[in-house]
């Protein structure tokens, strides 16, 4: 993942926050967060080898699959819930986002932008499923289940009743400000739930009528 995403997340999280990192991997970023922000951190990771690495770093970690829910955590147990790097692999991202908002006040999501220029060109001129820096695996090996663009993600959050309070876009050269849906390979988004936790069910995507003029 683009290192800019980690820097951005570090900036967004105030000192002494309670942070839950979903898909914590070997815990390297969570450990950094705990160190740099004096955060109270906890990770969830499904691979026992990676859980062991988190333990080596002295992190509190829970071995589990986030697709099974976060029942072990009480409502509002965290200030921030992080979903960095696994979002497009989740079978039911809306359900997981809802669960993240039950246990946390704010959620930070990182995802790959499938509408990046290079992706569009590969489809258009080669007629092949794209393989790029941020989507490095061929179609039969990729763990990505969902191929979303920045516009798709924004639509998705609106449908869920979630407010995006900050965002940042990146490609290999760094931060992207101009035409992100075309030029950014990766995105990170800070979300705040106003209504999501009170809803009985997630709105079906696409139900909200929104006009978009971005490319």
């Amino acid at each position: 993942m683009n290192p800019g995403i980690y820097e951005t997340v570090l900036r967004w999280i105030p000192e002494k926050s309670r942070v839950l990192d979903l898909g914590a991997g070997d815990g390297s970023f969570l450990a950094r967060l705990v160190q740099a922000r004096q955060a109270t951190g906890e990770g969830v990771e499904k691979d026992s080898g990676l859980v062991a690495r988190c333990v080596e770093r002295g992190l509190v970690v829970h071995q589990g699959d986030i697709a099974d829910g976060l029942d072990q955590y009480g409502d509002g147990a965290f200030d921030f819930v992080l979903l960095l790097g696994t979002f497009q692999e989740l079978v039911l991202p809306a359900e997981i986002l809802r669960e993240a908002f039950r246990v946390g006040r704010q959620v930070i999501v990182a995802y790959s932008n499938f509408a990046h220029l290079r992706v569009r060109l590969q489809i258009l001129f080669q007629g092949r499923t794209p393989v790029t820096r941020s989507l490095p695996q061929p179609w039969h090996r990729t763990r990505n289940l969902h191929f979303l663009s920045i516009l798709d993600f924004q639509q998705f959050t609106r449908d869920l009743g979630v407010r995006e309070t900050a965002r940042a876009y990146f490609n290999a050269r760094g931060a992207v400000r101009f035409l992100p849906n075309l030029r950014a390979e990766e995105a990170v988004s800070l979300l705040h739930a106003d209504t999501i936790s009170r809803r009985s069910a997630v709105a079906e995507p696409g139900k909200t009528k929104t006009e978009t003029y971005e490319v």
């Binding site: 333990v55 002295g58 970690v61 829970h62």
Partner: protein
């Protein structure tokens, strides 16, 4: 058949001599102390209880580096090092010693045989005060909480106000949980392994098969047996059943498969025993030499009766707990399945207790914590090291 990992082939250190295995601790001794007055949860009062225990390593001047190891059903005080009489290593020698998961260079390790057992601590085979005959079935019912009360008495005797950690697997894990709840001021770090907050019907069922085998052995005689005629057949069957539940299908397939004993199978003898048969018989025969049948009845009852939250809602009971937890289960453990550990973790976390949970992939079954197990050992060692470091930073 795929090659069996060496640690699977070697198994645990409880009932077999592992070739070439030498404990780095050398000879270690078990001591026995008589402690005054214990009232059990059933209301019985012992004027005094004998406690057999072992200590390893050095107690720090601040008396704050003690780790209590709670034995499982058939474990005893001899946790590590070589027994001077039998020459056998302790049951957890793989994981307790200098530089090991529980590092005796850093920590003062205590392990005591449990109340109701037969490892030197007062139990059904102990002499009754007065007439010198064994208690037998007159021994009062014992609970996991009673076992913990005895351990607390031992800590008082040793002058340890607060443990750095308490750790144990299976029945040992239940003692860890009971200690955390009943004596929250006495411990900083709890490591329950392959355990549960209460037995399911299946767990009780397997224990009942073992108990039934013992009490239906004519030599059991209502629990009043002599050294000469012990219900060894019943106890051996109990151990055989128990042992199967401690392993996994994977471990048994790779350890035995459908192999037959070589000496019988060579001439095509159809009745040749499968290796697994003779292995289980061997396990049974060895076990009866060192275990008291009545203790088996009492201890299995104790773990069947155990219910961490018998006295109220989990949230209320856990409110007073101050310790930090490392909960470990094994993916292949079907006797104490990972879901039971996850339920424990859920209740701990919901009560605001810091809990790390790992489901180690070892394919050996319930006994995965008793064998040489680098993945398990590394997690325990690092967790203890990190907690020890933060203890020194903010005592």
């Amino acid at each position: 058949m795929a090659a069996l990992p060496t640690n699977f082939a070697r198994g645990d250190l409880q009932d077999q001599k592992v070739a070439d295995y030498q404990s780095p601790l050398g000879v270690t001794r078990t001591e026995t102390v008589s402690l005054p007055g214990l009232r059990t949860h059933s209301g019985f009062t012992f004027e005094q209880v004998d406690v057999a225990y072992q200590t390893l390593g050095t107690l720090s001047p601040a008396r704050d580096n003690a780790i209590l190891i709670c034995p499982a059903l058939t474990g005893d005080a001899h946790v590590a090092g070589t027994d001077p009489h039998t020459g056998r290593p302790g049951w957890w020698d793989y994981h307790v010693g200098p530089g090991k998961a529980i590092d005796t260079d850093k920590f003062f390790v205590i392990c005591a045989s449990v109340l109701g057992g037969c490892g030197g601590t007062t139990g059904p085979a102990s002499s009754r005060p007065g007439n010198g005959k064994p208690y037998g079935m007159d021994f009062p019912p014992v609970t996991v909480r009673d076992m913990v009360s005895v351990q607390i008495k031992l800590l008082d005797h040793l002058g340890i106000p607060k443990l750095f950690a308490v750790i144990g697997g299976s029945m040992g894990g239940m003692q860890v949980l009971a200690l955390a709840v009943d004596h929250p001021e006495r411990v900083r770090v709890c490591i329950p392994i392959a355990t549960c907050i209460s037995h399911t019907a299946m767990q009780i069922a397997f224990n009942e098969i073992g108990r039934h085998a013992i009490v239906s052995d004519p030599d059991w005689n209502g629990g009043d047996y002599s050294e000469g005629r012990r219900p060894v057949h019943g106890l051996a069957v109990a151990r055989m059943v128990g042992h199967v539940t401690y392993l996994s299908e994977f471990a048994m397939t790779h350890k035995f498969g459908r192999q037959r004993q070589a000496e019988q199978g060579a001439n095509g003898d159809e009745a040749a025993a499968f290796s697994v048969e003779s292995y289980l018989q061997h396990q049974g025969q060895n076990f009866v030499k060192r275990f008291d049948p009545n203790s088996y009845l009492y201890l299995t009852r104790a773990i069947d009766q155990f219910d961490l939250f018998e006295n109220g809602p989990a949230a209320d009971i856990l409110r007073r707990v101050r310790a930090r937890f490392l909960v470990i289960s094994f993916a292949s453990d079907w006797l104490y399945p990972p879901a039971q550990s996850r339920e424990l973790v859920r209740l701990l976390k919901r009560a605001g207790i810091s809990a790390t949970y790992i489901n180690v992939g070892t394919e050996y079954g319930h006994d995965s914590f008793l064998i040489e197990n680098p993945a398990f050992a590394s997690v325990v060692r690092h967790y203890l090291e990190n907690e020890n470091r933060s203890r020194q930073l903010k005592p």
